[in-house]
Symmetry: C2
Subunit: 353 residues, 2 copies
Amino acid sequence: MQIFAVIMAGGFGTRFWPASRKTLPKQFLPIGGKRALIAETAARLKGLVDPEHTLVVTGRDHVALVRKFLRKVPPENVLAEPCGRNTAPCVAWAAAELERRGGTSVQIVLPSDHVIQPARDFRKLLRAACEEALETRALCTLGVRPSFPATGYGYIEAAEELGKRSGAAVRRVARFVEKPDRARAEEFLASGRFFWNAGIFVWRTDAILAAMELHARDIVTAVRGIRSAADAERIYPTLPSAPIDVAVMEKADNVRVLPIEFTWSDVGSWAALPEVVPADAQGNFASGGASVLAHDSTGCVVHGKAGEIVALVGVKDLVVVRAGKALLVMPRERAQDVKHVVTRLEREGPTFL
Amino acid sequence: MQIFAVIMAGGFGTRFWPASRKTLPKQFLPIGGKRALIAETAARLKGLVDPEHTLVVTGRDHVALVRKFLRKVPPENVLAEPCGRNTAPCVAWAAAELERRGGTSVQIVLPSDHVIQPARDFRKLLRAACEEALETRALCTLGVRPSFPATGYGYIEAAEELGKRSGAAVRRVARFVEKPDRARAEEFLASGRFFWNAGIFVWRTDAILAAMELHARDIVTAVRGIRSAADAERIYPTLPSAPIDVAVMEKADNVRVLPIEFTWSDVGSWAALPEVVPADAQGNFASGGASVLAHDSTGCVVHGKAGEIVALVGVKDLVVVRAGKALLVMPRERAQDVKHVVTRLEREGPTFL
């Protein structure tokens, strides 16, 4: 039995402007570290999955970046989406591709732009999930133990424990829940039964394809027809845009959850950097290699390149990001408002996007 | 009678870091405008003093910058100080140089790094001062009508009016006063008799040399010996460091003041930019050519190059300066604290100075 990784790298969000651009989305940035997030994602699997068994699904325009950051992944393992269709078509295409390659395989399907530490604990949990998936044909997902009543994540309600794999509790999934309001998030947190949905899945190729045949037959039938870039160009745009959670996971009856009990962050915005970067002596958070010189300043998130310096005097809890010819300054609590800047730039200054 | 300008460009302050560097002091920066302050200073005199009659006294290391920004000033008019000795030796050297060139001359002595608007009103006042200086041999100074009880400037106490020149009141100077504390500054403001000392002087060459012979004989004797760069190297370091105000003006008995009733700023720090830059529609102040994209942000001072963009989200009254590989963020009210950053960089990051 061979373990494959399917790295989903189709995102092109704007929340990390100005470091992220249309031509350089978040997964290709060294957010919180020295290497691009996608490179960290692949490196984190080292010893469990080798590059020859790693598939990457990405946007057509980002294939060159994937090749740049994952030099050891064979070119034929990079699947280029002609357009974004969310995760269900992406998962289906990767599964159909592995089906064509033959043999029994277990897949680890995961986003390219999360931070998870320590890698050793993550691999151990993935191994447990692989065992579970291989032996039971269940669709496994990893759930993050909530640390606060987050309203920005979907939740997974866990039911009874079915057993342990390498020390990790494997529980039946009762249901998937969309992002809750604050009151429900607090209930979820208090109950102890709910996990954040991290979008990380482990399953046998034959199991996910069987589930898709039941719940998303059109998609799986279509992607089985993709044998070339020309096929993808023709077929992919005809697929519905749907997340795998909604298209399959919520409907399937053999879903399991294993708990991530270590550091996980989807690093959703600049404000999330303190989740993944250690504070320096003054309590500021530097990312990307820039030096910070803080005088009477604390709680600031700074991103810039090595060889650059950001001097802070008498400021608190600011985000300061420098990238190319653009610079962004805002309070951490306003990090979601980057979208307003991006919207205005689309009208007034597209060269900065 | 020929009017000369003596532009004092020996400053090398740190208050405009990171835009200003040891190799690029404030007078060579386009602060608040598109051209370097020294270029604006020369341009402001256009029609009153031509480049052939402009002398510039600057640090040895900055001669090339002076030549770059004042291309029409003849090379022999740039006096290179081997070391800084404040304004008395600077003024004396320029006067001795003009004395050697012969003829009756009136000099306008002025700093290279102030902003004064409108230029037409400034020239009109300078003409009046030149008339006064030529005819009475008085040492004239321009005083700025105080708009608030500033503690950062020296003051000039004016005595009785002696007459008018082109509509400007010429008053005898009772005394020069060092920077006052807040209470005295308020008294000065209320009295109506006090002006800020702008460091701008108008006098006949023979008159200032005569005054220096009385009050600063060592300096004037020494600088008369400077005929070459080698002479300057040898003689200049032996001179005392003293401001012309203290060395001569406070002691002379024929001092006059004419009032600057228009916009004057010595642009003492980033926080002073709003004095010389118009606010944009959101109430922010951009300098140096950078574009500002403000979302829910006001009162910010931004300096950067043309082609750069600074996006502000939800911030107020910040200074944001980008220059080369360095960036500075601080509240406007903390602008004086740039010195702490510079001090630390001297120890930790001299490449950024």
